[in-house]
Amino acid sequence: MRWIKHLLIGTYLLALSAGIVDHGLKFGTNSHPLMYFIVWDMYCGWSAHECRIHLVAEGESGTHYEVLPPPWGDFAPFGTVGRQHYDTVHNSIHRMGLNVLKQTDHEPIVRLKVIEESWPKKYNLPEHLWAARFEEPREPQSYFWNSEVFDGEGKIINSVPVYLTQLYNQAIGSNPRLAADARKHQSFIAINPAHRRAAFAGHADAISQPQAGPPGNSN
């Protein structure tokens, strides 16, 4: 029995050590889901914007419907905010939407649109703290950004960078010389719509993006 314990302890400590080394050297940390169990990379991806995700369905009649939050009520996993808002990289939002379509009555749906709603986090300050910090009235404004479009069966039709990446691209694109340089490339047609994201998001790695795997709800 002793050698089984040796093996168990040795394997376990080896796994913990591998996680530390991989994480320290930034080597293969996103290579496999099991890495999430041994790499302790909390605190990633907190941006200066608060973001909410809406899923809007467009029916054959042209009417738009609210798909998420679902009609039976949100599941709020870590507070009061619905589950869909934690899918920061939009990996699974269409699955949640398709489930709502499956469980509800509605006209035939032709489009599912992922809409990001963002606002600077300074507007999250309570009134008394806002008054202590700013002399201006508190006038929050939401910015809406349609980042993905799916057909009624969940197949992707169009995908553009998420709002934060779009802001970054705009900031870069405001440099006319750089914008001119960026146009000096060979044109191509992205066969897979999902690859259009790569064509538009060349700078995505340069900014603080949520890492692969579960979102930055590091609690």
């Binding site: 999430y36 200066a48 009609p71 870590f78 899918d87 600077p120 986090k121 809406f144």
Partner: protein, 508 residues
Amino acid sequence: MEGNMTNLTESGSQAVPLPGVGSIVSRFFYTREVPYAIALVRMIICSVCMIIMGPRWFACRELFSVDGATTPIAIGYSMPNWLPEFNGTIVAGLATLMMICLFTSAVGWRTRTSLTIAAILFTYFSCLDSVSTMTKYMVISTHVLFLLSFSSCGKIWSVDAWLRWQHSTDSQPEMGETWCRRCLQLLMCSFYFGAAFTKMHTPTFFSGEQLTYWMMTELTIDHPLGYVIAMYPPLIVAMGYITIVWEIAFPLLVWRDPGRTVMLIIGVLFHVMTYFTLGLDMFPPVCFALYLTFYGDRDYQAVGRWFARRLQPALRFVSQFRMPNLSIRYPQSLVSRSSFGLFAVFLLTGTAAGIGLEHSLDRYGQRRAEGRYALTPLDHDVADRMLAPLAPTRESDKLFAFDIGTFLIGDYVGDRCREFWPGQTIVAQCSFVPPHEDMMVECNLRDADDRLVERFSHVAPREVFNCNYRFPITVTSEPGPHSLVIKIAGQEVARKSIRIHNPALAAR
């Protein structure tokens, strides 16, 4: 072998024998002790896991089954999901089974079996819902459940121990090896060390930006203190440095007192603050449970003796009342067999009841009297606003904060004030909301009649998040109310009223 590995070292003129590596490792992992620590960990972690999974049980059909919308962890890694997925009824049964096993693990009934089932199902469900279930404290919990399922944590403070006591003549608690406690200690050390690495890889952690934005999020539970502390960035920078030093020192100093006490007290303060400032509710109890592994059986016995001394008067009072002896000693074979049979019946009936209850809850409203739910049409105005092209960012939304003081500390204004005297320098700092383009940012000093007294302009490149402007107050500065105005692209975005005092000029 251990004898062969014994080394000798010179201490002055006398040779002192050192224990070999093998014997050190053996003593570290295989010393026998009463497993108080891991028994406590078992009770706390299983209770915390039940609290975490309780609300998810009601939504298990939606979160974990093919009748809902699972979000397997593999998708985030661009890999196919390798986990089996079941329909809602089976998932309701498995989720109920997990909850029951977490309960029986906490009370220590058929502890090893319960922990094994709980560990497998808890990990399975976590991996199936990466968006709203899988977090780092869930990962720590899976490690703990996995290790405990191999351990002797059920030997004390458990139903199993009570049943064994029924036919035992030995009044001493059973003992086990320390290896599980040691692995949990090392888990905690690697966790903090890894967290320190993350911070080293995140430059915006040291500038306080990451923590500031986190403190201002609404994605975690309500944490009003976070908003208040977010107003004091120098404090956040200082706390960030203290945290990383503590996280690196933890694996080195936590093994013996006084380092152990210091590290654990700082740890408790740290996690309490994460609750109040970041809204992390389940992380602290998971970590606190693991802190208990840094104490051995002698520590717990000392605490027990201390409590016994303190509680002696109360115990003496209670002992005045003659209590009937309720313990009935059954034959060992009957106890063992009935315990297993009862356990199996408990699991089966509980699971069946759970399936029935979940079915009756009708998550999707399929059996409602008024029929299935229908999608709600969006208001036209709302739909138009949502689907319109992206609006240009307002200049005021590029400004995060505008602070005024007289000195900087940690690259932030250290003393927010509005009154200034000759000899002082007004430091006006504006922080930006990233990402932003290269901007021309102007700071104007204006008098009471809004006439321009002084103006500074800076280019704020896209990688810059703070811009500072300094206005020295001299003996020639005009006294009275003034204002500082920030303009981005020529548009006023913030204004702050200040007062300049100049007794020499005021006297004239």
